[in-house]
């Protein structure tokens, strides 16, 4: 697009927006993990959160079901 005051470049597609969203979420997860490991409040590493979830019977089943689903979804489908 060329014109007065406009920006030249590729159009923003849904694919690009989705890709940026996933990258942003991944970056946020990494940031929370790093802050948790550095001891910054209120952040905790994901391992601590999972251990807390595993302390209850329901939490155990939810975590195990999520693990099984991830394996099936990404490695088998």
């Amino acid at each position: 697009m060329v014109g007065r005051g406009s920006v030249v470049g590729d159009p923003v597609t849904a694919h690009l927006v989705i890709l940026i969203g996933f990258a942003g979420l991944l970056g946020a997860m990494l940031a929370v993990e790093v802050l948790g490991r550095a001891g910054r409040e209120p952040f905790r590493p994901v391992a601590h959160v999972l251990e807390a979830a595993l302390a209850s019977r329901t939490g155990r089943w939810v975590v195990w079901a999520a693990w099984l689903w991830i394996g099936f979804h990404f490695l088998a489908r």
Binding site: H15, G21, F22, M29, V32, P42, W67, F74, L75, A76
Partner: protein, 154 residues
Amino acid sequence: MRSPREQATVRRDPARSQRDAHTWGVSAEQVAARGARLGRWDALILVYAALAALCRPLTAPAVVVVLLPGAALLALAAWRHAPPRRAVCPRRGVVPWAVLALLFGGWELPAALWGNDSAHPTLSLLLDPVLETYPGRLLGWLAWLGVGRWLVTR
């Protein structure tokens, strides 16, 4: 009575064995035995991942090789009857991860509902080019089985 492998583990790093024993409230021998077991798990996971990664996704063998360790680790986790642990994470420490998980679901769902095509890909579709290669699948398998092993030991 320590086995030769346990003696070797304690001899190799006695300070770590004692520190772990103090942390977990178990004897140094138990810590050493646990270390030896983890070594065997590592080898087993490596071999299994190398073989399982030979199976391409969307095939019957791929389903079987996922279900085998899945069922085995689930059974092991159910059989272990680990004593209930005190939650080590305050509720407000859970909030950031819960928010991120919800955001991830909220981001994945529209793409799935819009057809999960190249214009609106889900994460699994975006990872397809990586998982189509053997090294990519091997990494995926190692990560998945490694997390499974970690969950069993909790």
